[in-house]
């Protein structure tokens, strides 16, 4: 009996969540060739094809773009994460704290920061860094890294990220998609987006 009641309460909670998410957040189309600022920051990108910008933000200073839905191809902008903040919004500051970007975080440690965030935030049991190398991002010295992880849905995804620390703030773009098919299909679209990124 208890079981049933708590089950219904959960179902109602889901329903209200659903109503909320349809009302408040509108998705937007990002049209090919038109420069737009992302995540309310001073970063602009000029997409080489049409993208969808999702209305929901996973954290302060972030914005998510997708082609077929964020499970299939997810481009996330982290635009200006200030020291002392996590990459995405913490579900519970006390019970499930996330690793923070700090003043002393080095570029070479940014992959570890993303890894720690994924493991806690996405409950990703397996995460593997594939490569880390120096690269230019937003016209500054930055880091480019690739990784692979298996999410709760037991699907293995590939990811790549470009990051730079500019005036003490972290700027990063990540692209994540299922390893089979989807990653390779949109990899070049993401790279074009990275190349077009400018800091005003």
């Amino acid at each position: 009996m208890m079981l049933r009641r708590s089950g219904f309460a959960l179902a109602i909670a889901t329903l209200s969540l659903l109503a909320l998410s349809t009302m408040a957040r509108a998705h937007k189309l990002r049209v090919q060739g038109a420069a737009v600022t992302v995540a309310g920051s001073s970063v602009t990108v000029t997409p080489s094809r049409d993208w969808n910008s999702l209305g929901k933000k996973i954290g302060k200073n972030t914005e998510t773009w997708t082609l077929d839905g964020e499970q299939l191809n997810d481009v996330t902008f982290f635009a200006g994460i200030a020291p002392g903040n996590p990459l995405v919004k913490e579900r519970s500051k006390k019970h499930a704290p996330l690793p923070k970007f700090t003043r002393t975080t080095l570029l070479v440690e940014v992959p570890e920061l993303l890894e720690g965030t994924h493991r806690t935030y996405k409950n990703s049991g397996a995460f593997k860094l594939l490569s880390t190398q120096a690269a230019t991002f937003l016209g500054r010295d930055g880091v480019f890294f690739t990784y692979e992880f298996t999410d709760e849905d037991q699907l293995t995804r590939r990811g790549e990220a470009h990051a730079a620390i500019i005036d003490g703030k972290l700027f990063m773009m990540t692209f994540e998609a299922p390893r089979l098919g989807y990653f390779a299909r949109s990899e070049n679209d993401f790279r074009a987006l990275v190349t077009s990124a400018r800091l005003r």
């Binding site: 909670a13 998410s21 002393t104 397996a126």
Partner: protein, 390 residues
């Protein structure tokens, strides 16, 4: 306390039963059970192909062997063991004989006897077919799930669907949430197997004492007033650990105390996997629990792997005091040896961040010399002035 004692006495009055004669290969009976087994078979097929299962014949064979040691060869034949890479404390057994053992459990137990206590307990649920008794609740539960799935499919974002995913987890959590009397029965059976085996039955109580201490340590480090035992999947459905540790200690046959607990064999079997399991735990960002686990593993002697894990844990938290400690721990790992090349990397980074770039760069150079093809070699090279092309 008095309640705990009372319960312990009650449980103690009934001694652990000698395991009943094994009924042999059981086939599901009745439409409910047959249906459930069919779903369970399907779920096992998916599990076998899952990316989260650790496909290591040696490790899986070893865990199965420990289970067989506890419950006997004949019973053991009905079990298929799958080890999953998931850093939480849990193991479960489903009606058709699929046993899922999470890597977090392997990291937390110290010897064969402790592992056998947990696995024997899960087998107890299976042998008594406790699943069936909760079947009505299960059907109610899945009705809710079916409706929630329909609703969630309208949802515009992945996040809503993930909320559904969480719901799915919580309802399945309830499915395998046995009643407390069933838990006690499984406990008694579990310890009954251990009493009959060649392993030390006293280990069962230690598992719970350790788990309680870990949950408390985690809460302390997070600044919480009270540890929440219900947050942990395995403890949520089980009798309060304090009560449990007491009656388990009571049920263990006294003459078993001198038996072997298999700690050395366990350490040897886990050795190839320990660094990975520790790594998975540390990156969960649960400082208190990780520190407790490392300290607890170190009671058997500090090794380079343990010092390295502790250093990584402190460096990840990243306060200046943590970085100083981390540098110290990396140095200890290197001193004891054989340390992984990554110990030099961590040492170098920690030193550079605490204002000692010269010694830091020296350590980073050693890292590159030991592991020239490291995935981040290029980045590290950039941090070395003048030696960039080395």
């Amino acid at each position: 306390m008095t309640l705990g004692l009372l319960l312990a006495q009650q449980a103690g009055a009934a001694t652990a039963p000698v395991p009943p004669p094994y009924a042999g290969a059981y086939q599901p009976q009745g439409v409910d059970e047959i249906g459930w087994w069919r779903e369970d078979d399907e779920s096992e097929r998916k599990l076998a192909a899952s990316n989260l299962v650790i496909h290591d014949e040696t490790l899986t064979g070893y865990v199965k062997h420990v289970l067989c040691d506890a419950i006997g060869e004949e019973r053991c034949r009905s079990v298929r063991v799958y080890i999953m890479r998931e850093p939480t404390f849990n193991a479960s057994m489903s009606p058709n004989g699929t046993m899922r053992v999470l890597s977090g459990l392997l990291l937390r137990v110290h010897n064969e006897a402790e592992l056998a206590a947990v696995l024997g307990h899960e087998f107890g649920h299976f042998e008594r077919r406790h699943f069936l008794e909760g079947f009505k609740a299960q059907r109610g539960g899945t009705d809710v799930l079916a409706w929630a799935a329909v609703l969630a499919s309208f949802a515009p974002t992945y996040h809503t669907r993930r909320a559904y995913g969480d719901l799915e987890l919580s309802i399945y959590g309830n499915l395998f949430r046995y009643q407390r009397n069933q838990e006690r029965e499984a406990d008694r059976l579990g310890i009954g197997y251990l009493n009959e085996s060649h392993l030390r039955p006293q280990a069962a109580a230690l598992v719970w004492q350790n788990l309680m201490a870990e949950i408390e340590a985690s809460a302390r480090a997070k600044g919480l007033k009270k540890p929440d035992f219900n947050k942990i999947a395995f403890t949520a459905s089980h009798p309060p650990e304090g009560e449990r540790a007491a009656y388990l200690a009571d049920l263990a046959v006294p003459e078993g105390a001198v038996r072997d607990d298999g700690a050395a064999r366990y350490r040897a079997a886990l050795a190839p996997w320990l660094p990975l399991f520790l790594d998975d735990q540390i990156k969960l960002n649960d400082f208190g629990a990780s520190e407790y686990i490392i300290q607890s593993l170190a009671t058997g002697g500090w090794t380079a792997d343990l010092w390295f894990a502790r250093a990584e844990l402190y460096r990840t938290r990243g306060n200046q005091r943590d970085l100083a400690n981390a540098a110290d721990f990396y140095a200890k790992a290197i001193e004891i040896g054989p340390a992984r090349p990554e110990a030099y990397r961590g040492l170098g980074l920690a030193l550079m961040k605490t204002g000692q770039p010269t010694t830091g760069q020296k350590a980073l150079r050693t890292y590159l010399a030991l592991k020239p093809d490291a995935s981040d070699a290029g980045m590290i090279r950039m941090m070395l002035p003048g030696k960039g092309t080395e």
